[in-house]
Amino acid sequence: MMQFIHKYGSPKYFYEWSGRWAKILTWATLVLMAAGLYQGLFVSPPDYQQSETVRIMYIHVPSAWLSMFTYMVMATSGIVALVWRIKVAEIVVGQCAIIGASFTVLALVTGMLWGKPMWGAYWVWDARLTSELVLLFLYVGVIAIYSAYEDPRTGAKAASILAIVGVVNIPIIHYSVEWWNTLHQGPTVTKFDSPSAPASMLIPLFIMFFAFKTYFFAILFARSRNELLMRERESSWVQQITKELK
């Protein structure tokens, strides 16, 4: 296990294998996105209650789901960074914070666009949107502490501690917001399970899930490789690469 981590975590090795995967994943993303969007935007039927606006769901739901998934990846990476002090893990923590925040913003914006025709207001304090908002605050906190430190390695350690504490808190926050919401009888924007959604809606949704997932990994690898080059620019293998590029 230790050797596995050290091998895949070593900057040079990571650079190489993530480069190969980044290419594959980018193609996969393009294909899946195209398929999913086509299915979602054109082929699948409009909802009998919400008509065409339900199509926003095909972007909103996957991005909300990814915003959570990214936090898990960030926290896991944080544990690896703290316990084994792997530089690549430290970079991943920082990148996940930015990517996760972007997914969260996307989820919030699409949620607001969905809400307007449905409820007549851009923002409603429903459980899902409120949780996403709090998640955004958590991401902003991680980004803030990461960048507040001059030395990126120290910043990564502090950010990792925050991310790990955050991951424990997320279920608690969700639960408390749910409870708060049901008590105050708020509206729900994102329920699509009654009546249960037909296959023609679920299929594009699943395609979009996978599309977002491959996109996440593709962009994570691409950005991490970039930052890795920046940080390791003094080392010999990076000098080698820059020489070859010239």
Partner: protein
């Protein structure tokens, strides 16, 4: 005397010697609560409905304001380094410091809050729930706040950043506490909320000190 008690006693002694600074968060609390009737409306029905929220949000902010004093003095004069170099687990020592801080800041807050609740027309039946939620929750606020301070101790912009980091974590505490008080206002059962808050307290006491020690090591 066990080192835990020794540190607790030392920090309390230091707090008493610095008692003028202790008053600041309390004054803040009083002034800000008073701002709400001025800024919103002195209408009795309105105020008594939003009172739990006002008291609680202001208590959160006052606690955050007081947090900086927890480690800053020890950090600046080098005592923190000495503590971190002691063999054995530092978790208990840090817990002693947090308890001392809560005693010097949280407890006065708990004492003043009922008086402020009068200003906001909070109904009498909510008083016990106000006190109990404060007693259970203010330690949680101190624990989380100390994590924020520990993470930002060596940074220039420490104070406001640590508040930004910790405020989202305060949300469950805020929600459960205010819901408890609102339930008490309608004579509904509150023990469920107390149990939840109690569970949060136990979890925080068991887990947060470890994170704080890790964060202090990073800051040094």
């Amino acid at each position: 005397m066990h080192l835990f008690l020794f540190i607790l006693q030392r920090d309390l002694k230091l707090a008493i010697r610095n008692r003028r600074e202790l008053a600041n968060p309390l004054v803040f609390f009083i002034i800000v609560v008073s701002l709400f009737p001025l800024g919103v409306s002195p209408d009795r029905a309105l105020l008594s409905e939003i009172a739990p929220g006002i008291i609680w949000v202001t208590a959160l902010l006052a606690t955050l304001m007081s947090m900086d004093s927890m480690f800053r003095s020890d950090y600046e004069d080098g005592t923190l380094e000495q503590l971190l170099l002691l063999p054995g687990s530092k978790v208990l020592l840090i817990l002693a410091k947090i308890i001392a801080h809560w005693l010097s800041v949280g407890v006065p807050l708990i004492i003043i809050a009922p008086i402020m609740s009068l200003l906001l027309y909070m109904p009498e039946q909510t008083l016990p729930s106000l006190l109990i939620t404060l007693i259970i929750s203010t330690p949680i606020l101190s624990l989380l706040g100390s994590l924020g301070v520990a993470l930002t101790l060596s940074l220039k912009s420490g104070g406001i950043l640590s508040s930004l980091l910790i405020l989202p974590f305060y949300i469950p505490v805020l929600i459960f506490s205010t819901m408890a008080i609102s339930a008490a206002a309608d004579y509904l059962p509150v023990s469920g909320y107390y149990a939840l808050l109690g569970a949060l307290l136990i979890m925080s006491v068991l887990l947060i000190p470890f994170a704080v020690v890790a964060a202090l090591k990073v800051s040094n």
